[in-house]
């Protein structure tokens, strides 16, 4: 079995769903003839035609709004944001129209809005964002954020099949950096709402998602080697809804919790996770719940600045070491 990249796994997932279900179609900027800014949809136009691979104007609100209308009529649109940073242009459409549709009007809106997110790639303030916190606060949306090759495929397939609107965040630092082999003959569908235990440990839990899953795993190896500290790493995979059971289970097992995310600190998901653990597992904690996040600044461009602002493996090691010794 050949090794494939994270990006290829995503591409395969999209392809298989389009082969499986003729209601699935793609729309977005430069996705057809050009194959997408990152080539996620390369070859799709030739196979599925202009009717199912639609190049759109630069108009994120119209892309998401049109996807919603098509979904009401029984189709399964997958809308690409060329960079997820531009999803803010569709914020109104997603939060006011799409997210409320089932509740206020009984309208099914099974759309997927996907796009490349995240930093560590010198993308500057507008090609590096992690927008999850802006949407995490919106009942009616679901958010998935795969970290592995397997989940890149399994979560896009599950998102397309879901009856509710799903934001699928794909970290561009993982696109071609992460490789794995996937079993042939097995259909991979990762259920929404379930976290993945990425590494078992006894002394301390790291709850994380996206690119920082890999940085946390690296940190865990170092702590094991250098300090003899056994770190458990939980990859959330789905951010909305959060897998409370998995979070509480790891907290009750190790009694110490470090939350790591690439997004900025204030108003980030770590705050919500901390609150839930405080409400439901306070007496299980042997130390304060701590966070490793980006600094609260827009993401700068220069390597020295970006590396300083974003959480690095060293930061996770330092924070986990501090907490382990608490």
């Amino acid at each position: 079995m050949p090794e494939i990249t994270f990006l290829e796994a995503l591409r395969q997932g999209l392809w298989e769903e389009m082969e499986r279900d003729e209601r699935v179609f793609l729309l977005g900027e430069d996705i057809g003839a050009y194959g997408g800014a990152f080539k996620v949809t390369q070859g799709f136009l030739d196979r599925f035609g202009e009717g199912r691979v639609i190049d759109t104007p630069i108009a994120e609100a119209a892309i998401v709004g049109a996807a919603a209308g098509a979904a009401h009529m029984g189709l399964r649109p997958v809308a690409e944001m060329q960079f997820i940073d531009f999803i803010s242009c569709a914020y109104d459409m997603l939060t006011n129209y799409v997210a409320t549709a089932r509740y206020r009007a009984g309208l099914a809106t099974p759309i997927v809005v996907r796009g490349p997110c995240g930093g560590y790639v010198r993308g500057g303030p507008f090609h590096s964002q992690n927008p999850e916190a802006a949407f995490f606060h919106t009942p009616g949306l679901k958010i998935v954020y795969p970290a592995t090759v397997r989940d890149a495929k399994g979560l896009i397939k599950a998102a397309i099949r879901d009856e509710d609107p799903v934001l699928y965040l794909e970290h561009k630092w993982l696109y071609r950096r992460i490789k794995d082999t996937l079993p042939e003959g097995e259909e991979i569908v990762t259920p929404l709402g379930s976290a993945r235990l990425a590494r078992e440990g006894r002394d301390l839990s790291i709850v994380t998602y996206g690119a920082t899953v890999w940085k946390s795993l690296e940190a865990a190896e170092r702590l094991e080697r250098e300090d003899g500290v056994s770190v458990e790493v939980l990859d959330l995979r789905t951010l909305l809804p959060l897998d409370d059971d998995a979070i509480l289970a790891t907290v009750k097992k190790t009694n110490k919790l470090l939350i790591v995310h690439e997004d900025t600190r204030t108003g980030g998901l770590a705050g919500e996770i901390t609150a839930r653990v405080s409400e439901r597992a306070f007496e299980w904690l042997d130390g304060p719940v701590m966070r490793v996040t980006a600094h609260d600044v827009p993401l700068p461009y220069a390597p020295t600045l970006e590396d300083f602002v974003l959480p690095q493996t060293d930061d996770i090691v330092k924070a986990a070491r501090w907490l382990a010794n608490y």
Partner: protein
């Protein structure tokens, strides 16, 4: 500006409409006005929850434009604004549904989750708006894109107010639909007020139709208080859209004779101008005069319709005015298909059952 109008005293029936259809349109006009008058009474009795939004003076373009569509199960779909009650009634919304919506009844189409005419029945052919103006243009672009993709001979119609033509969503949606050649008719309602803001502070063009032309969309301006002219223009646009000729824009010039909502005394409007539109350019009065002047219908037939509409609204009111509000805990259901209900907060469980 092209203003089309039916010439007086033409012997033949107009616009390919039968006598029954002329009377049916009158019925929807009268039903819209009578139902809103009933809502005013209920509002003053504090039975309406929240605001009441009148379409007084705009009933003509609402009813006539919707009437030009193909109606019935899974035919054309329109997306109304708050002042398009008439269009919803034409598509098959029932007075009792409107009354229940305005009174936030548990039995209302949205089970008390949304207000007034913000509800939908896609099978009958209407998709409720949200309050963010302009947003329905991209959504209707998606619905009509689906018609085109499936090769269905159906069209969509979306209403936008003069104020909404300032929004980004309007422009994005219009352009998207134009590029994709969606079978979509856009009705731009020039009713002179966006809440209180006059057109001169909203845009620098004279006619809304000029905006559409910038997107390569055929556009026409019509006297919005001439029922038959609006019908004809919409029918033509819908026929063309149905035949694969893409998006069409119809500007209807009309006048909102009430405040933004019932609480608003319209102090920003000139009382003389409001009075002038009421006495000389009311769409229902004009339609009645046209029908009678041409001898297309008899006064007795119109009076019979008036009585039957009053009965219908009376019966609908009696049938729902005592309906209960929705049970509080029903607020938690249906945010998602899965999970089926949101979590009840912990402190609401502490003192159950007495405190619920």
């Amino acid at each position: 500006m092209t203003v089309t109008s039916v010439s007086p005293r033409s012997p033949a029936l107009p616009a390919g409409l039968s006598r029954d259809q002329l009377l049916e349109m009158y019925r929807y006009l009268r039903l819209t006005r009578t139902l809103e008058e009933r809502l005013v009474a209920l509002y003053r009795q504090t039975k309406v929850i929240g605001g009441l939004f009148r379409s007084l003076g705009q009933e003509g373009e609402s009813v006539a434009s919707a009437y030009a569509l193909e109606r019935g199960a899974n035919r054309d779909i329109l997306s109304p604004l708050i002042r398009n009650l008439g269009a919803m009634l034409v598509m098959g919304a029932k007075p009792i549904e409107i009354l229940r919506q305005y009174m936030a009844k548990g039995s209302s189409p949205t089970r008390g989750r949304e207000m007034n005419v913000h509800f939908n029945d896609l099978a009958k052919g209407y998709l409720g708006q949200i309050s963010h103006l302009g947003d329905m243009v991209p959504v209707m672009a998606g619905i009509t894109l689906t018609f085109r993709m499936r090769g269905e001979r159906r069209v969509g119609l979306v209403y936008v107010g003069d104020g909404a033509t300032s929004t980004g969503a309007f422009h994005e949606g219009l352009n998207f639909a134009a590029v994709q050649r969606c079978p979509l008719v856009v009705i731009g309602e020039y009713n002179h007020f966006a809440y209180s803001t006059p057109p001169a502070k909203q845009f620098a063009v004279k006619d809304l139709a000029e905006k559409a032309k910038g997107y390569g969309i055929p556009a026409v301006t019509v006297d919005g208080n001439d029922v038959l002219a609006v019908y004809e223009a919409t029918k033509l646009a819908a026929d063309r859209a149905r035949a694969g000729k893409g998006v069409h824009f119809i500007e209807v010039k009309t006048f909102r004779r009430k405040g933004h909502a019932e609480h608003d005394d319209q102090s920003y409007a000139s009382p003389e101008e409001v009075e002038r539109w009421a006495t000389t350019n009311d769409p229902v009065d004009r339609y009645v005069k046209t029908l009678l002047d041409h001898g297309w219908v008899e006064q007795r037939e119109l009076s019979d319709i008036d009585a039957s509409v009053r009965d219908e609204v009376d019966q609908a009111t009696d049938a729902c005015v005592e309906d209960p509000l929705p049970p509080p805990e029903s607020a938690l259901a249906d945010v998602y298909a899965d999970p089926p209900a949101a979590e009840r907060l912990w402190y609401r469980r502490l003192f159950a059952p007495a405190q619920g």
